[in-house]
Amino acid sequence: MPLNIRTYHDLTEPDRSGLAGQIGAQRRRVAERLATVARVGAVMSGKGGVGKSFVTAHLARALARAGRAVGVLDADLNGPTAPQLLRLPVAGCTSHDGAIEPAVSPEGVRCFSMALLLEDGRPLAFRGPEAESFVWRGTLEAAALREFLADVAWGRLDLLLVDLPPGMQRFAELAELLPEPPPVIAVTIPTQQSEDAVRRALHAARDRGAPCLGVIENMAGGPFAGDAADALAGEFGIPVLARVPFHPTDDVWDALVPKVESSL
């Protein structure tokens, strides 16, 4: 005779652990922190080495030059480069009113990155059992992203750019943490291989309900053959926001600002 056991959802008595409530509180903390941020935008590719961080940093600097309040959240936890690209001063972190102050670039871009926290040259490593670390490492990285959103004093921003690492996992985590999936800017280089990877990423973003603002072709006019940006733009019905040459001047980035702003 099987035991008559009620299901999880049948049990409705008060639960002191309240794990679901704790998760809900985390989400509210993110929403409250970002209440002063007008827009969040994700810069993604799906392909490594195409210059997402380079594009993010220069776009942020151009936005700041145009008088916008802009932030960069470096979501590439294992290969963070935003502080260098934004020329952030090396300094300790200070907290105020329960939040960590972001670093600020000479142009006024507010930024937070794992690179600000890690010892020089050391990888991101977590305390915990090494065996089966694949089970919990991804969850820890998602929690780090959550804390970067919720615990950094971003203040009033016109735009918070999130620089995503290659692949789509971090985008899925970001979309889960925000009240709604963020609009994405895709970065590609001209090659067919990059086009294939970015196509997958754009489909993944669209499947999550994220608006795709456009595609930026980086390293254009150089040794890489192909028409990835045009092909992706045509396929997804999105504009080519910029073709960035190998050695772009500020003009290239400044011209990108109104295009990004009008697409948001």
């Binding site: 652990s17 010892e119 059992p129």
Partner: protein
């Protein structure tokens, strides 16, 4: 995660949490009807998985600390990055500032600098809120269990 006393058909209530310090966790649950107690024992990987969600079995007992999970779990952080935080001596809790026994200070000194300031403030707040005048290793052990401060 919930526990059901099948015999009484009652949801069991969280009773107590213990962190022996070896990465494992014990959480006891009691049936409100018959009083039977069962213990949930997690291995280090399971403990880590729960911790990585930023939740605590038995409920959160502390207000959220900024970058709490990152500071508590990252082992390759710069020692001096939160140096200013370490200057926050007595915490923000109510009551007079507690003093630290020599043994407690020695134990605190073994906590990585990356997280030391936050840990110090948590223990100081714990002591102030309970009117504890001196923080000793015993107080730290009790606080660690009560607050669920695995690895701190």
């Amino acid at each position: 995660m919930k526990f059901l006393c099948v015999e009484c058909d009652r949801q069991m209530a969280f009773e107590e949490r213990q962190l022996p310090g070896d990465g494992t966790l014990a959480a006891a649950f009691r049936c409100p009807q018959c009083g039977r107690v069962v213990a949930l024992l997690t291995n280090p990987m399971e403990t880590q998985l729960v911790a990585s969600l930023g939740v605590k079995i038995g409920g959160a007992t502390l207000p959220p600390q900024p970058l709490e999970m990152v500071r508590g779990m990252v082992t390759t952080g710069r020692e001096d990055v939160f140096a200013d935080d370490a200057k926050g001596e007595g915490g923000t809790g109510k009551g007079p500032h507690p003093i630290w026994s020599l043994a407690a200070e020695e134990r605190l000194a073994r906590v990585p600098g990356f997280v030391r300031g936050m840990v110090k403030r948590i223990y100081a707040d714990y002591a102030k809120d309970r009117g504890i005048a001196e923080i000793t290793p015993t107080v730290m052990d009790t606080a660690r269990n009560e607050l669920g401060l695995e690895g701190m």
